[in-house]
Each structure stands twice: as structure tokens, then as C-alpha cells.
Subunit: 345 residues, 4 copies
């Protein structure tokens, strides 16, 4: 019996999400091997790489070109994502990039085109697709269990807002709700978002609204199959993480996700109590492992990743339309999500 | 269209349960009419009857013989049940009797035989059979949804023990668990209880154990189809009423009942909280109405009530075996539940 | 002890909802007495009134003026509601009117002003306020349990659309979602709706869209306390009735309602299954009784009803803004809900 | 910063559970290193060890004496457990042993005494103590949240019985319910089991009853603090794994565990459906990792493991009393669980 050798990964960006991915790669995934970590900050790459048995560099281009690196995981600041995807593709490396893949549709098109030209697989970090609850819901929808989708809902509520002053404008759309936009697109597969209406405000930290903070948002999306979706986000859920999805259709409904943490219940004079998903927990730890395992499998099989550049572009297009909707106060058309410079990835 | 006239009911016993039944009959059931209430206590019958538009008497035999009374609801002290059933049957009146129908198997046989001889319907107040949750569970079992029953569970936990000194010995078996014994017999329909092991104690009010109080009990029952059942009771659930049932079989399981009261949930920093069924609530109010409606329908149709004398006897036989099990510390055979003096009701 | 005499009610409109209310009044409410039913259709009033021991008339004005009638329940077609409220007020009768109280803000103002001038209590049939789940949720919100409301949701999905051709235009807003608008206003008490965006379509019965049918709708409402609410409706939920509410705030969340019917669960090789709320069920039967009991209590106490004319106007204002939003495709300001001709009821 | 070096483990027994533990050690636990695997079967140790980067041997005593091995994980057949614990202790190695630690109380005492004499830590594989649901429930009990325990329940239902002919007699007590006995002892910490009544049968595979198969059992345990517990097992749950616990006390109740797998629900015309824990799943994967991590931490800290020899002995004593109860048909005293030859471990 021959065993598939692990995919040798280089990881760019040793921040919070990079640390989580690196640890998952090194500790949980026999199908992957962490060989190199790059981060320009003083000692950051080494601090992450060494305990995990990997090497470190400050130079992301060196990492990309290192012959030991088969595939690159891009987990640094979002603004650098698109350029790094293009660079990795140019070096012929498979690419896993955190969401959002790009900050503009032009950059998204550029990244997709580069990977397409190089013939390298490109996967985007929409990990909710790999969460058991959401995947089971999607499977029911895909099997026709709810008929034609008519009403959809996806929401993300994070447990806290540590530094309201440090949140870049539009983060709620480009970083948070982009998960929900992808989930909705995925649940309503085959349909495209047509128009968007967004209402948003700084209700958690109103003192920071003047600096562009929006911490609460509700988005309505109309799809070209008639379905209407709602996406909703808050940066501060007192009871902990809350990520839920719902698809209602002509033959039924699926629901997924719950802020309840375990099955334990405490029944007392006051009623019944259950713990919820705490702020100090990583949400969807198994989904993080599963998305990377799926990426490695696609790399080895030479097959298309389960969630690719076109998905990233489609979610981004909704996020950008939301920003325009907030700016204009009106309903905004979502730009054509099918046209990608140089073709479709 | 001719309308079925309401069944004219006389009710014996104006205590707590009698008051509840009388109010249900007068207020909620178009198919019943409360015509007479009997209670020997000074003014008790009148206090209950008058606001409900019924008449009152101190004399239960007068009520039984009153020509306006078609059917008798016996809701007085359990020790008087069997004699009143016999008397009502002798007067040719249909009988609804609260549980337990009798305190001895001989009395149960006598009551059953009297109703059989008189050709009057006899229904026993096992209201759990008319609770929507439990009826739905039973329907699944009856339809073969769980295959052959193998493990069963029924439990009753009441929300408080107001007067531990006033609880007659063996109440936990003859008054409380008798509901569970009937539920288990009903869930495991067609099978008979073979042997019983009971462990019981005074854990809620240990100071009253010397006076015969048992406030906590666990019973194991082996049935002649091999199934093994557990029944469990406590007189003091801090979180309120808790009545649940479970049937596990070769092809699956049904569960029914929950101490949670409403679907409302409060999610906060402390977790998620839901209210439970409070002590000041009547449990199964709809089941009380449904069992009386079913009784009236059987009276009008001349058909057998849904839960009759043989059911009451079968549950009593288990309760009496439990008492013997506690007394001897061993496993006790349940006396033949099929043999009824004069035949089977 | 003196007993409060029942409130003598006359009911106008013997259709489906009128029949339900009349039966509730006659059968379940000791605090009410059904004395007269009016309906212009041939024999309709008599067919409803007689089995309930009430009298019948074809003439609603005669009912209103009948000296035996203390209070009028208006349960006929919505277009007649406002005029009948005015007429009943002119006769000095207390008024219970089904939703919507009026079809225009001017009519709503007129009805409120008439009751105010006559000094008669006016209650509107928003029965969801009396459903145990929703009332418990509201109580948590009112007690500060979720802090300041930020995101709200209310949805109504009915189990079927029997006659798509017979649904008047805008029904989804004026008849269905008006419940949700009131629920949201009530949950977010003290705040007023500022602007509305509505997306709606005929997804259940697309063939009837040309005749004005809208059977699916999503509404976003911005309130003057910053909170953003979503209301959602469908006329055809395959799994049965689905009415849910959710309020998320600075300190937590409440959720209420579930399409699951009973606690019974069936666990088998296929997974776990529970029944849902069927189409042949009346939703919230206890809430119908509770709202009428509350109305009778207010009549007897001379106090303000729990849900009055201003509430009806506020919900109507949102519904009308939704219609304009669908017509214009944009976000629409909700007209001032505080200004009522002649004052505030 | 100095890092704690991983605990170097040798594992004896390359069967199903050994394979699972070995993989967990090698793949998921940075605090452990798998250095050696022993199994007498032809090639078995090598097949497991090699892909995990460990060495293999057929000789368990060689493994125990190997100087690279700091701690021994005993995962072979139960009948060999006690002797291997004694041998590992004699070699001064820390011991992790799967349940049951021994098959007789004498062997249990011998194993405990050997570890005590050698001063080595001894942990037993009661992994349910490390399952999040159960640990949360226990924490509530330990914090006094339910007052004094009065009624307890623990059940284990496995999803299938592949080879009824290959099940050794009494397996249901010594291998399956021993988990529940430990859970109950742990929930009711500080109390000792006094007497036991067991009813058991071959209901899943009645044709194998003659060979000693018992596949269905219900056990009642009375504790010296008055509490009464029920333990229940079946070898064939159609709906998948079902492991639940419940502790009811003077101030409330905790419940833990559910056969429902994910939060996903599918609502359709037939009702609401959720998937359950499938037969092809490893139950409690995180608990397997957590118990080994806890063992490694105890080894490094030189502290007592969270679940030790005395716990193993106490659960075994209940299992052995159950066997006697089945044999005699009566209630059986549990032998003193405190007296351990040579002291208490």
C-alpha cells in the first residue's frame, strides 16, 4: 500500500487566524505538513513556526518561491490577499486564501484569472461550508428536501467588540457578513443575487460611529430565482457566538446552528438553564480542520476545490452592494457576478 | 341536524380534584352538563355547585339515585371509590372514577364486576392517556414505529410536598406512580407485568419516614414480553412538574413530556434560560377536558371507554406488588392481572 | 362575596374568525356572555348564535343599539371595521375589533377619536400579545433582560393558500404581517418605526401575481431607537404554522415560538422526528380566550385595554409604508404614528 | 520559556480501542508522544505503529521495560489488564488502563496496591468523565446546583450488535454498564453503592441467550446517602448511539447527553426531522483526547489522575453485584468499596 504524502504548506501571516490555521495544519491534519511560516513582524513567524516544527521567514515572496512549499495558505491582512494569490499562482503553487479573497471586484477577477492561467487550485476560507450543521442543511436543500428556496436567513453575531476604534470601515460587510453572503449563495445554489438593501448602525459602540464604525447590520437580498434572503450581524452578543442559517422553500425548511453549547441542562427553581458558546472558544474548530483537509485532497487529486474564486467574488459583490446601499440609503443592484476577466474560475 | 344532548353528570367529592373536574365539566365541555354535586362537608358541595349553575347535596347516594343524573363522576377520597362505583352501577349510571379505582384487587374486581353486571360504562381517571404528548408517543408505538418494546420509562415528579405528615402510607405507589404504571402498561399494550422490584425512601422529608412517608421511589418491572420498565417518582421537584415517558424498542424510541413550559428562551451572559412548569399550574389541563369528553362520547355511543376497569386493576396490581417489594426488600411477582371475579371488564 | 357579572357581548360578523370568537365567548369565558350575533348573510347569524344560546340579527346597527349589549366584538370584513367602531362608540358601547382596525390612517384616526370622545374602551385583536410564549418574551424584554433592543425579528408563515385568486391585493401586509408589525412595536416598546424597506413576490402561486397576489414578503424596519427589525411572511409553509419572534439587545436575546407541536419525539434508523403544528389546528387558541378575558376585565374595571387604537394605528402605518415600498422599490418613511386626529387613544 | 516535553507512551494492544488511542496520541496530543506499540498478533503492532511514526514489538514486557517508555497505555483484552498494570508499576511506569481495570475485586486490589507501592500514577479509561456534556453536569452537581442527589440515571445504548455469538457472558455489566456505574458514582461523589437489583435479558438476539448473552439490562442501585440510581443498557439502538445522564436532587436536576447529532433540523410536511449519532461515528472523540491529555498532565505534575484505581474498583464492585443479582433474582449487597488490600489508591 502506498500512502499519499502530506501536502507541504507554507503559511503567510502569523496573526490570530494564521496561528489557528498553522496549529490545525501541524497538529490535526496528517494530510498536511507545515514547512514554512512567513510574517514581516519581528520574530512573529519564528514564534509560531518553531513549536510546530516548521521554519520561519520574514519574506512572503521567499516562502512562495521555496521549492519545498507545494501550496500557500494566505492568512495575513485582507488588503494583501489578492496580490499574494497572484504571486503564488505565478509560482505555480496551489492557494488557500482566507476570506475576503479581495477587496474589489477587479482584484477578485485578477486573482481568479491568475490561478486559472497557472492551472493551480484556489480555495477560499468560507469555513462555514465545512461545519457539520450547515453542511447537513445544505445537503437537505440540494436533495430537494425543501423544494424551491423562497426565504433564506443567515446571521453572525460575535461575542464582543474589544477595540471599536480599531475596526476598519465596512468591516461588518467585508469581513463578517461575507460569511453569510457566501452561505446564502451556497444554500441558494444556482441563483444569483440581484439587488440588496442594507440598514446598518453603530448600536454597540455609538461613540465610534463618527469614525465609520458599523457594528449592527441587516441586509435583504433578492435573488434571480425569486428567493429573498436576510443576512444579519452584530459585533456584540452578550450570550456568546451565534451563527445560524435557515432556508424556507416550497416543500419545507431547514434550520442550522444554535448558540447553545452542550446538551447539558440545569433545571432548578429558576427554570432550566443551558450554557452557550463562550467568547473564549474558537467557533467551528472542526470546520477549520475540514476545510484544510478538503483543500489538501483537492491539491492531491488535482480537482476543483469545493469553494473557489467565483464563490469569493459572488460574496464580495453582495458586500460591495451593501456598502453602496448604506451610502445611498436605497436598494442597490448587485453587479454581474458571472463576468470574470479572463474567464470563470 | 339534531344535536347530541349533553351528558348530565353528578359529581361526588368537592375537594381539589373534584373542583377541577366540576369546573371543566361546567365551563369547557359542551358535551357535558353538571347537574348535581355531592359532598358531606359543611357547605362544600354548594360552594362548588352554585357558581357553576348546579345543585348541591350532602348525600352521595341521593346523587346517584337522582333521575336527572345520567352519569356519576367519583372524585372523593380513594378509599370510598370502589363502593361508590358499585352503588352507581347498581343504579344503572355510567361511571367515571378517579384513580385509584380501588385500594385492593378484591375491591377492583368487585367494581369491575358490578359495572359489567349492570352493563354501564366505567372509565378511570388516567388522564395521561389523553395528554397530547403521551397520546402521540403511544400512537407511534401502536403503529410499530419502534418495533418490539424492550425498555420503558415513566416518571412523575410533583413540585412540592406541602404536608408530609398528612400523606398516607404507600401514597407514592397507590396515588402517584399508579399513573406511571398505567402509562407503562398502555405503552407496552398486550403485555402483562410479571415481577416488580421497588426501592423507596423518605429523602425529601426524612423526619417523617417513621410515620410511613415514602417520597422518593424507583420501580423496575419485568413484563411477559421481555420488556423491562422503570417507574420513578419524587414528591418534590424544585423546578416544577416533571412527567416524562420513554419507550425503546427493536426499531427505535419514542420520548414524551418535558418540564419546560413554553418555547420562550432568554439568552444572556449567563447562558440560555427557559421557564419550567410551575407549581401553581394544573398539569395537563387539556387532558382533563379530553378524558371527560371521551367519557361522554362513550356514554352517548354506548361504546367501551378508552381506559376501563381492567386497566385500573392492572396498574393497582403493580402498585400492590411494589408495596410488598419494599416490605420484603426483594423482587415480587405481580398477581395475575387477567383474572377478574365474574369476568373481565 | 359578590361576583362580577359577565360582560354582555354582541358580535358582528359570523364568518370564520367570528365563529371562533363567538364559540370562545360562549364556551370558555365565564366573564363574558354572548347575547347577540349580527350578520347580513342569509341565516348566518342564526346558525352561529343558536347552538351557543344567543340571539341573531341581520342588522349590525340594531345589535349596536340593543340595550342588552354592553360591548361589541367586530369580526366582519376589515373594510367595515372603522365605521362599525365609530358606530359602536357613538352608542356608548365598549369595542373589541379584529385586526386591522382600519385600512387607512385617516380611518384609524377617526375610530380612535370616536372612542376617545365617547369614553369607551377600544381593544384590537392582536392576539399574539396574549400567547404565553410571546408574553413571556416581552416580559423579559420589559424587565431589561436583554438590555437595549438592537435587532428584532417576527415571522408568520401560514400552512397553505387555499384560494390564491381570492386574496385581495396587499393582504400579506394588511392582514398577515400586521401581526408581526404589532409584535415588533410591542417588543420594542417606546420606540417608533422610522423607515421601511419591503421586498415581496408571488413565489407560492406565481400564476396569480398578475392579479396582485403577493404571498412572500420580507420587510426591514428601522426604529427611532436605532433598532432594526425584520418581518417575514409566507402564505404556504409545508410543515404547518410557523410564528416566531426574536429580540436581540445589548445584554442578550429572547426567542419565542416554534413550529414543533408537542414534546413527543420519535427516534428511529432515519433520525429523530417530531410532529409540527398542523394546518387543521387553530393557532393560539388560549390567546384568543385570553385577549377576550382581558377585554372583559378592562370593560369591568374601566381601565385602558392592553392593546388599543394607537397600537392598531402604529402597525397600520408600517403596513402602508410597506405597500409604498413595494410600489416604489425603495425605502419609505413611516408616517408619524403619534399624531392622531383629536388626540391619542 | 521552557516547554514541557511530551510524555513518551508505550501502548499495549493494537485492537480497535488501541488503534483509536494510538492515533489520538500521535495525531491530536502535543503533550504525548507515541514511541512503542506492542501486540502479540502477527504484524498488528507494526501496522498500527509505523504510519504513526512509532516502533513496534510483540512483547508487552519488553515495551514496559523499554527505557524510552515513560508511561504505559493498556488497551488490550480486559482479562490481561490487571497483570499488566502490576507489571508496569513494577517497572516504575505511569499507567493508563482501559476499563475495566480488572475482572475481580482481588485483581483490582492487587493493581491498586502495586501502583501505590511503586508510587506511579494510575488512570482508568472512564472517558465519559471527560465528555463536555457530562463534565458540565457534574460541575453543576459539585457546585451544589441540585442540592442533595436523590435520583440518578445513566444509560448506554450502542448502535448495533454485530456478532452476538462473540460476546462474552456478563459483557453488558463489565464492559458496557461499567461506564454508567462510574458515571453514577462520580455524579453522586462521596456516597457509596449499598445494594443493587439487576434485570437483564437477551431481547435483541434471543437466539443467543442460551450461550449467556445478555443484551438488555436495567439496574437499580441504592447509595448510602439514600439516593437511588438507575443504569440501563441495550446493545442495539436503531437510531444510533444514545448515552445520557440525569441527576435529580433536593434543589433541581441536571441532564446531559442526547442522541441527536447536530443542530440541523429539516421541517417538512411530515414534521421536523434531525439526524442522530450514527453507528459509524466514534462517540466522544474529544473525550478520548481529553482523558489522555489529563493523564499526561498528571504524569508531568506528579499529581493524582482525575479517575483512578479506587474509581475502577467501585464501578467493578457494582458490576459484580449485578451479575450476582441476575443469578439469584434478588437484591444484592455491594461489597465494601473502601477496603483495598494494602491501602486506598
Amino acid at each position: 500500500m502506498t500512502t499519499t504524502p502530506p501536502v507541504r504548506l507554507g503559511l503567510i501571516g502569523a496573526g490570530r487566524i494564521g496561528t489557528y490555521h498553522a496549529t490545525t495544519i501541524a497538529r490535526r491534519l496528517p494530510e498536511a505538513e507545515l514547512v514554512l511560516v512567513a510574517d514581516p513582524a519581528d520574530g512573529a513567524a519564528a514564534r509560531l513556526a518553531e513549536p510546530l516544527g516548521a521554519e520561519a521567514t520574514r519574506d512572503s515572496q521567499a516562502l512562495i518561491e521555496d521549492p519545498r512549499v507545494e501550496a500557500v495558505a494566505i492568512t495575513c491582512a485582507s488588503t494583501a490577499h489578492a496580490d499574494l494569490v497572484v504571486a503564488a499562482a505565478a509560482a505555480g503553487k496551489a492557494v488557500f486564501v482566507e476570506k475576503p479573497m479581495a477587496m474589489t471586484l477587479a482584484d477578485a477577477d485578477r486573482a481568479i484569472a491568475a490561478c486559472r492561467a497557472a492551472g493551480v487550485p484556489l480555495q477560499v476560507g468560507f469555513n462555514r461550508r465545512f461545519a457539520a450543521d450547515f453542511a447537513a442543511a445544505r445537503a437537505v436543500v440540494a436533495a430537494g428536501g425543501i423544494g424551491r428556496p423562497q426565504l433564506l436567513r443567515s446571521l453572525t453575531r460575535d461575542p464582543g467588540l474589544a477595540d471599536p476604534g480599531g475596526v476598519p470601515p465596512w468591516t461588518i460587510f467585508t469581513q463578517t457578513l461575507i460569511h453569510d453572503f457566501d452561505t446564502l449563495n451556497w444554500f441558494n445554489a444556482g441563483a444569483g443575487a440581484v439587488e440588496v438593501n442594507a440598514m446598518a448602525d453603530a448600536l454597540v459602540a455609538p461613540d465610534f460611529k463618527h469614525s465609520g464604525l458599523l457594528d449592527t447590520a441587516v441586509v435583504t437580498i433578492r435573488y434571480d430565482n425569486g428567493a429573498i434572503a436576510t443576512a444579519e450581524a452584530s459585533f456584540s452578543a452578550a450570550y456568546g457566538y451565534d451563527v445560524r442559517g435557515e432556508v424556507f422553500g416550497s416543500a419545507g425548511m431547514v434550520t442550522a446552528g444554535s448558540p447553545a453549547q452542550v446538551t447539558m441542562a440545569h433545571w432548578s427553581r429558576e427554570g432550566v438553564w443551558r450554557p452557550t458558546v463562550r467568547a473564549d472558544t474558537v467557533l467551528f474548530p472542526d470546520a477549520y480542520a475540514a476545510e484544510l483537509a478538503s483543500f489538501c485532497a483537492a491539491v492531491r487529486a488535482g480537482s476543483a476545490p469545493e469553494v473557489g474564486g467565483a464563490d469569493a467574488r459572488a460574496a464580495l459583490a453582495v458586500a460591495l452592494a451593501c456598502i453602496e446601499s448604506v451610502q445611498t440609503g436605497g436598494t442597490v443592484a448587485v453587479r454581474d457576478t458571472d463576468r470574470v476577466a479572463g474567464g470563470v474560475a
